[in-house]
Amino acid sequence: MSPLDDYQDEMSRLTSEQIESILDGRPVEAPGTERLEMFVHDLRRNIVVDPEPETAARHVAAITAAARTVVPRLRPRRLTTKLAFAAALLLGAGVATAATVRLGDAPGIVPDDLPIPVRTEVEADDQVSEPPRTTDEPTEDVTERPSERDDEPRAPSARSTDGCAKAAAAAGAASAGDPCAKGGGKGEDRRDDGGPPEELPGPSRPGSGSRPNPESGGSPPGDVPIGSSGASGGGRSGGSGGAPGDVPAP
């Protein structure tokens, strides 16, 4: 085997890192790479040189002249962009102003008890999503009202068709010998109000406390008075509300 073959064999064993080092001009600890390193060094040192001064001056003149011709072409585009941006800003400001003016008018038009429509929607949702029930079924589903405690007195369901009769019976029993009735005041008032018990978190749950209670004389969803919004308590409308026939069908 000739020395040339040996050399080529050594060179072919160069790793990628060693090749990178040679090309970067860094010394490599490998036999036979000195001349390659010298070649790279010569290439860098003797090829990369400043242009002659006259050539450089000529080039700079040509380049600056080109730059002067390029910039005026760019400026109108920038101006157009700025104008478009300003127009967009003005449009946005106009839309925002219009929206603000409408909102400012709202207190005069919309009543303070704005959540009423929300309440009606919730009830409508309940009616749609829940399956039809018979009168024998339990009127309240615990899963529907997770915040209600078991020991809490439950408001009668609006879906019970004989709810008013039950309420009347309950009222009779209460006036006959209910300890609450004897105690007077609070328990009786509660029944008379027909709203949810005070412990119920009515205002915080639009679906529970705001639900109109037909048995206790609450109005049907369509006739909900403004004062009986979820935020103001469910039973404030008193006992003069809707008739049993107004109860929405299950």
Partner: protein
Amino acid sequence: MATFEEVLRAGRDGREWAVESIYRDLAPAVLGYLRAQRAAEPEDLTSEVFVGVVRGLASFSGDAKSFRSWVFSIAHRRLIDERRRLARSREEPADPVELAGGVAGAPRGDVEDEGLARLGARWAAELLDTLTEEQRTVVLLRVVADLSVRQVADITGRSPGAVKTMQRRALLQLARRIEREGVSG
């Protein structure tokens, strides 16, 4: 001293100092690359490259390294255009002797240095001539333009793996040639 971003911004606005700064910074490598690639008129081509750079400044976005890569991509394209033009008109590319002469023409201030530079440039040019056109392009973009494998791959339209293979073969070829010179000399 202005940062790269400041120079770039001023160059986009057509400021003369910025354009000149870009030229002074990159022209030696661009001219060297075009000379080593045996461009017929490397000085004229360099001027064309930088005019193209100035015209395209508005469309460029990136850091200093990618700017350097972008400038050399323009130089490489101009070189290919010139070669096509030459192929149609059948002009001869520059001779390695001219390459060495052009390099030696640069001011160095020392006669001995100039002589060594001339010899070194001549030697390097002769060695480069033993490579294929693609190998030479890869080696010059790596060494003269100081670009990474990925940047060279982007400029030449090859995969990084292909560039690595090409540079390995190029170095092997150069080593073989250098060893042969040593054995024969």
